[in-house]
Amino acid sequence: MCEHDAKANCFEYIDSQMPRVPLDLVVNGERVHEMIDPAMTLLDFLRVTLKLFGTKEGCREGECGACTLIMNGRPVTSCLILAVEAQGAEILTVEGLSKDGELSILQEEFIREDGLQCGFCTPGMLMSARALLDRNPNPTADEVKEAIAGNLCRCTGYKSIIDAILSAAKREREALRNG
């Protein structure tokens, strides 16, 4: 296989045909039970099996952060995790950020601050940001940068993303104060 063969590098899931294994986990608050291919990544499981296309597929090797989701409270790159490793896990993807059709504060701030252009990095950015604000509701700009250092964006130049996260942090703190 040629390394530069576009087809070979194109991310199309191919079933390994290995015997299926059971997987039980919670995705965005819902229990999921599936018999799965042991050689499939968590990213493939979401996109191929569950048809949740919010989590994006960029590099498939942990470099771009497009596939970031929150697993048991921590942001991780789902392309580097086997689906079977998520046995019993709680997963939050970008689809789980909005409630009853209403965007979360974080999502609203990304829109207001122009924190996205093509939007491909956005789900990953949002999940890294969500995890940051959960562990640190009042981050500095440097802490925001460190939290999204593993998320590449080819469009915005990052400034608007950092601003969006900082202003979401502020609004979330206010919302908490005002009950």
Partner: protein, 285 residues
């Protein structure tokens, strides 16, 4: 498709070593941040994946006075980074953990995985080397402890054989006043592999320990250079001398895509000086 493999997650060390004995072509999975890339790029092929995260001993992360730390093979880089006492006592190790990959990767990657992959620039290697870390290796014959400085044998090669697995790493306790620092140079600030990495440590008896990463085929401890400093005070003059001498101990690759040997020679001296001055600085504080 990553490869054609099945997946086994044992709940005991015994089951794990037994499995390794009976199943050649097994790859050990801890954080997976190196393994899954290898599988995706077809650089690694295997028939079986052995997930070690369910083994209790490998999740141990303990400190006891006089004995120091034991860090199990399933402990993640961020767990290490978040451990306050470790940061106080072994700053270079925490700084190495902070430097590795991205935040997401650090949530999965493990310290033991980092040294088992044995990349010359492994961020955890140099810091562990200056603390005389030992690697605890299990096989069906039992557990043995090996000095980390004898663990690496070449680029991405270690003394481990396919029937062995690392249980964890132990780090001897340090006295009050023990100081250390880890510095690295990468192309960009943020998540990047390093061009040169250095760990420096000085104990209360003024004994200096030096280890380097990414400047040879393996991460290495500079015992010879350390010997030459024995009994001497770490003065600015000695720092200058060390920063020049250290370059004679390295052997950077000519074919690296990240930087030329000339650049690495230069930066090794610069980082050595910067780090040593940091150690002197803290003395006054």
């Amino acid at each position: 498709m990553l490869s054609k493999f099945d997946y086994y997650k044992p709940a005991s060390l015994e089951d794990a070593t037994k499995y390794l004995n009976e199943n050649p072509e097994t790859k050990i999975l801890a954080g997976g941040t190196d393994l899954l890339i290898g599988l995706k790029n077809k650089k690694v092929r295997c028939k079986h994946i052995l997930d070690i995260k369910g083994i209790p001993e490998l999740n141990k992360f303990t400190y006891s006075e006089g004995r120091g730390y034991f860090i199990g093979a399933a402990v993640t880089i961020n767990q290490i980074s978040e451990e306050k006492l470790l940061r106080e006592k072994y700053p270079a190790i925490s700084q190495g953990a902070d430097a590795l990959g991205s935040y997401q990767v650090r949530n999965r990657a493990t310290m033991v995985g980092n040294i088992c992959t044995a990349s010359p620039g492994a961020d955890m290697a140099a810091p562990l080397l200056v603390y005389d870390a030992k690697v605890h290796i299990a096989s069906s014959q039992g557990i043995k402890a090996v000095d980390l400085c004898d663990f690496f044998t070449g680029v991405k090669k270690t003394i481990l054989n396919p029937k062995e697995l690392v249980v964890g790493v132990s780090i001897p306790d340090v006295e009050k006043g023990d100081r250390s620092v880890y510095l690295r140079k990468s192309r960009i600030k943020g998540a990047d592999l390093c061009n040169v990495a250095i760990a420096l440590r000085i104990n209360p008896e003024n004994k200096l320990s030096i280890a380097l990463g990414a400047v040879s085929t393996i991460p290495m401890r500079l015992f010879e250079l350390e010997k030459e400093t024995a009994g001497k005070d770490l003065t600015p003059e000695l720092v200058d001398w060390l920063a020049t001498q250290i370059k004679t101990y390295i052997n950077p690759r000519r074919d690296s895509i990240r930087s030329s040997p000339e650049y690495r020679y230069l930066i090794t001296g610069v980082l050595a000086k910067r780090g040593l001055l940091k150690l002197i600085d803290k003395e006054g504080a």
